[in-house]
């Protein structure tokens, strides 16, 4: 059975149980279904049947979550539009995918001229009992399109189809190490623009458990602890930076209720996990790995208590691929490397996206055909992650081959930030570079280094705030009169790092 039908069946079967806890208000599955019925009506009234990709303003409310399932039942895709993201970026994203309609639950709907903004607020009615009548399921239809940072200045769109999601869920289903129960209380801390929100939500909804959401304007790490304390959460999927921030307060956290502690989206350091497990003594710890292009998650590593764990430079292993996923490590000519040789990790399987949205050039670079050991030629995706496989088949993360960073789990291409800085009129400097610098609590801080004598940067930063998402804005600016260069005439990044310390 496809996952959209399975979700619906779970909603019916668990109608009296709580599905969501949002801002301390509980919503049962029955209420969720009623919202879905109403929003489907709104969709059918306002959106043409051949309009397949719909913008969705991602508020932290039941209407927004119900809208995702309503769109899926209608065979449509959502593009998450974060209301806190600069308008220019949101408009670029919507235009590049030819979106016409945007669903919005805000009290004051988002202002996006030239788009059909459809209000979904107060779409609840307990008397609505329209039967479930799904649009025929088509696995190749797109279920969502996410945009990640692009090094040329424009974000790149990753379309994921229903079949991709079905495959992901099938992989999670057959995994005996990760089984949720209807009584579970699961954390949903991710913005809906981040695909990890799906592995936080879907397993919970499929078994009839309750998801506890985190508002986007909250100080997330403290809000999560508040939820953990108040509701005794049992399943917590988080980006590692959350426990990096909370580390000074670990001695005050005692959460025996937690059964699963899942991390994903960033490097997970072994030392912080060793301390975290004292806070969650009854929890399994899983380190998820997977790029957006491969539908959230392609494999994981299960942390071993009181035993030696696999790590490289303090970073915990990303484990092994799911059963039906192929991992290979290749050199620059896409030739497969042997165990313990470092190279680029490439993935193949049915979770793989059909390709970047309208971007043939990038598709040619990122995907290639390769004959696997079993003699079958498959399409592989080049992750840009440098890894190696140890002799027991575990994969270990080494670093990036390009200038992409992870900030709070979000992918950031330094080139995209530099592009916007260079395009600003006040840009009267010889050169500039944006760098990620590791701060004390293992998180990455963006530093803008400008080759110039000091000048007023207020205008430049106002401009950046209009064009970039907040996590992409450098936290610190350093002026250097003249940049150091290596013997080969390349910018000496190592030396600059020393200079900005």
């Amino acid at each position: 059975m496809n996952f959209v039908n399975r979700l619906y069946n779970s909603f019916v079967l668990n109608s009296k149980s709580n599905a969501f806890c949002i801002d301390d208000t509980f919503y049962t599955y029955e209420e969720l279904l009623n919202y879905i019925v109403r929003i489907r009506k709104i969709i059918n009234r306002n959106i043409e049947s051949n309009e397949r990709i719909i913008g969705l303003v991602t508020n932290n409310d039941i209407e927004t979550y119900a809208a995702i399932f309503s769109l899926w039942i209608e065979g449509k895709a959502y593009i998450p539009i974060n209301p806190f993201t600069p308008k220019a970026r949101n408009i670029d994203i919507l235009k590049s995918t030819d979106v016409v309609s945007v669903l919005d639950s805000s009290k004051t709907p988002i202002r996006l001229a030239s788009f059909n903004i459809i209000k979904t607020l107060s779409s609840y009615s307990s008397h609505d009992d329209a039967p479930f009548d799904a649009v025929p399921y088509r696995g190749n239809n797109i279920a969502y399109v996410l945009f990640t940072s692009g090094s040329t200045g424009a974000p790149k769109g990753v379309p994921i189809c229903f079949k991709n999601l079905d495959t992901l869920i099938a992989e999670l289903d057959i995994d005996e190490a990760y089984k949720l129960k209807p009584s579970d209380r699961c954390l949903q801390m991710y913005e809906l623009t981040f695909d990890a929100s799906l592995t936080a939500l879907l397993p919970s909804l499929l078994v009839g458990a309750c998801s506890y959401t985190v508002p986007s304007n909250a100080i997330k790490y403290f809000y999560i602890i508040k939820l953990l304390h108040r509701y005794e959460l049992t399943v917590m999927k988080m980006v590692p930076s959350i426990i990096n921030y909370l580390r000074p307060y670990f001695s005050e956290i005692k959460a025996p209720s937690v059964r699963y502690s899942i991390f994903g989206g960033e490097k997970l350091y072994e030392d912080v996990v060793q301390e975290w497990i004292k806070c969650v003594p009854n929890s399994k710890v899983l380190n998820h790995y997977g790029p957006t292009e491969f539908t959230v998650c392609s494999g994981y590593y299960a942390y071993k208590f009181n035993k030696k764990n696999r790590s490289h430079n303090g970073v915990l292993s990303i484990g092994k691929p799911f059963k039906n996923v192929d991992y290979i490590i290749v050199d620059e000519e896409n030739r497969e490397l042997k165990d313990n040789q470092e190279g680029e990790l490439c993935l193949s399987g049915n979770q793989l996206t059909q390709g970047y949205w309208n971007n043939n050039k990038l598709n040619e670079q990122a995907f290639f055909l390769h004959k696997t050991a079993s003699g079958i030629t498959k399409k592989f995706y080049k992750t840009g992650d440098i890894c190696f496989r140890d002799k027991d088949g575990y994969y270990l993360y080494v670093g990036r081959k390009d200038f992409q960073l992870k900030i709070g789990g979000y992918r950031v291409e330094l080139g995209e930030i530099e592009y916007h800085i260079k395009s600003h009129s006040s840009a009267k400097f010889k050169n500039l570079v944006v760098m990620g610098v590791k701060s004390q609590n293992n998180t990455i801080e963006l530093v803008l280094v400008i080759e110039s004598s000091q000048f007023d940067i207020d205008d430049l930063f106002s401009f950046l705030k209009e064009n970039l998402v907040d996590y992409m804005i450098p936290r610190r600016t350093v002026f250097i009169d003249s940049f150091p260069y290596t013997k080969n005439g390349k910018l000496d990044r190592k030396e600059i790092r020393k200079m900005i310390r």
Binding site: Y221, Y245, T443, E445
Partner: protein, 81 residues
């Protein structure tokens, strides 16, 4: 210590961490009202305030803190310890 003195010291931490003074702190000010006050700067501000008053906040207080008023009363509680 008077509330006004506490507020002045808090203000200094905000200016130092956020690198601007384009805000007006009063008891009802929340993160939404101050440019640059986000998850990352919050922890830096908290750490700086701990240093200034030579106190250590408890996690329980930090997670329920909604505005500057809450911050001031928590500081008062910690100083009195």
């Amino acid at each position: 210590m008077k509330e006004n003195e506490i507020l002045t010291t808090i203000e200094k931490s905000f200016v130092k961490i956020l690198e601007h003074n384009n805000f007006d702190l009063n008891k009802s000010t929340t993160a939404k009202d101050v440019d640059g006050w986000d998850s990352i700067s919050h922890l830096l501000v908290i750490t700086d305030i701990e240093k200034s008053f030579n106190i250590k906040f408890e996690l329980m207080d930090l997670m329920t803190m909604e505005n500057i008023g809450d911050l001031i009363s928590t500081i008062k509680k910690e100083i009195a310890k």
